[in-house]
């Protein structure tokens, strides 16, 4: 299976540690993927707000590049990019005249665009279970954590066709394989406020406060995520939330790829731990962390 990789803009900026840890993890698991050539931004909500056709053509440029490169699947670690790729692909598949318009705009064919998937969809497949269990070098079973999926990993279900939109389990399953008994909590698919962090930070602080309150109530010491915007909001807005809560927060927010990589014995530098606003290392160092010798 030939895999393409679309990092997306956040992973080249504020979420560099997601990109680093995904690459390190995939290399460790010997999963080969190729960077999508000539990629552009997915357009998020901005391009479709200005023009419907632009909002379809922008993500589909990338999908068309993936088709040209002959990938069987395109991996998008950002769940917003993922959503826009899947949404645009489905829209033009159902509407041939729109597809013709988009093809004319792109000056490229869209005959059989490959599906876009989240890295969780690839890794949480049962075929990986043995390989992942066998790769564990660091015992993280003491980590008390909740998995936070946010919006688009599985929602809306009809479009994403992956996991459960109200109670997803893929990330929990993956972390169970490496020995972490993830905690159950009711807000795993609530929205973090996404890009409103740049324009309406108060709203994001409100939305993330609810998430932290719920995670604390579940007994979590860390939140594990699979989306650059969820991470940015939860990692960077804790001071304002702590002020509203009236107590310090300091809860590490980690990408599933960092946690897996760390469990596999990869060094923290390769996983971007030093980039976090809330340093996760003190928490990780409290666990029994001796690297098992082979």
């Amino acid at each position: 299976m030939k895999l393409g990789y679309y990092p997306g803009c956040s992973l080249e900026g504020i979420s560099a540690e997601y990109d680093e840890s995904i690459r390190a993890l995939f290399a460790h698991l010997e999963i080969t993927m190729e960077d999508l050539p000539d990629w552009i931004c997915c357009g998020t909500l901005a391009a479709p707000s200005l023009s419907r056709l632009l909002g379809l053509a922008t993500p589909l440029w990338n999908v068309a590049q993936a088709e040209k490169a002959g990938y069987d699947k395109l991996i998008a670690p950002c769940s917003a990019c993922l959503y826009h790729f899947k949404h645009a692909t489905q829209t033009v598949t159902e509407n041939p005249s729109l597809r013709a318009d988009v093809e004319a705009v792109l000056e490229l064919p869209l005959d059989s665009p490959p599906p876009t998937i989240h890295p969780l969809e690839l890794l949480s497949d049962n075929s990986f279970e043995m390989r992942i269990r066998a790769s564990v070098k660091r015992d993280l079973s003491d980590l008390k954590a909740v998995c936070y999926y946010g919006c688009h990993i599985s929602r809306p279900a009809k479009l994403m066709q992956f996991d459960d939109p109200e109670n997803p389990q893929s990330m929990d399953r993956l972390l169970n394989w490496i020995g972490i008994q993830t905690l159950d909590w009711p807000r795993k698919v609530d929205c973090c406020g996404a890009h409103f962090s740049m324009i309406k930070p108060d709203i994001v602080v409100d939305m993330c406060q609810r998430l932290f309150e719920s995670a604390l109530e579940a007994g979590a010491e860390a939140i594990i995520v699979g989306c650059p915007m969820c991470h940015a909001n939860l990692d960077t807005r804790q001071n304002a939330i702590a002020a509203k809560l009236g107590h310090a927060l300091n809860m590490p927010v980690l990408y599933f790829s960092q946690v897996l990589g760390y469990a596999f014995g990869l060094p923290g530098e390769k996983l971007g731990f030093k980039r976090h606003i809330v340093d996760p290392l003190p928490l990780l160092k409290c666990l029994k962390l001796e690297v098992t010798s082979d």
Binding site: C9, S10, E12, G13, I14, S15, A16, E17, D38, W39, I40, C41, G43, T44, L45, A46, A47, P48, S49, L50, S51, R52, L53, L54, A57, T58, W61, Y83, D101, A104, V105, L106, E107, C151, H152, R155, P156, A157, K158, P165, E166, V189, D190, C191, G193, A194, H195, F196, M198, I199, K200, P201, I203, M207, T236, K274, R275, H276, I277
Partner: protein, 178 residues
């Protein structure tokens, strides 16, 4: 064309299927900030209350989390209807009622025209500068800079690919509306 037919043409959503159960409003994480709740937006579209919907804050406060779409028992997609209203509002020259979001979306597309990709730090910086919110986030920006999460803009600027798509899409849309 009637307002609700325009929305249907743009989004494929038949708002007449909505029976006002209000699951969309109940699940919407931003409903408490909205002037019209999602179920009211749907109902207003049915009633043809174009002005109130096109000028609402609700359509711009929608963050597209798709909770409404995911939970609708009638398989209507309120998020898609909201998106269609945003497109229609701009087509009709109606200024978005949440100004900061308009500034953000336009700045975002301008950044794409320059780079093809977004340079997230400059999108955030310019948006916050233009909306008067830069100062409170400066300490955070410094922390992100020190941690290598604020990168220099991508060079050489690769916006040509996107500018062509932008030009072609807008021309084609104009041609089909004429």
């Amino acid at each position: 064309m009637a307002f609700r037919d325009e929305i249907q043409a743009l989004s494929g959503q038949n708002v007449n299927l909505c029976f006002q159960c209000s699951k969309c409003s109940s699940g919407c994480p931003l409903a408490d900030k909205m002037d019209l709740k999602p179920a009211q937006v749907m109902h207003s579209i049915r009633l043809g209350r174009a002005d109130s919907v096109l000028n609402s804050q609700a359509i711009w406060l929608c963050v597209d989390c798709e909770t409404c779409t995911s939970r609708c028992p009638q398989d209507v997609e309120p998020a898609a209807a909201m998106a269609a209203v945003r497109v229609l509002a701009l087509q009709k020259g109606i200024k978005p009622s949440v100004k900061v979001i308009d500034i953000y979306y336009r700045g975002f597309v301008d950044n794409m025209r320059l780079n093809g990709k977004i340079h997230d730090a400059s999108v955030a910086g310019i948006t916050q500068l233009l909306t008067g919110q830069l100062i409170p986030d400066l300490p955070l920006a410094m922390k992100l800079l020190v941690r290598g999460r604020v990168k220099p803009p991508p060079l050489p600027l690769g916006g040509g690919r996107f500018r062509k798509i932008y030009r072609n899409a807008l021309a084609k849309e104009k041609e089909s509306r004429a």
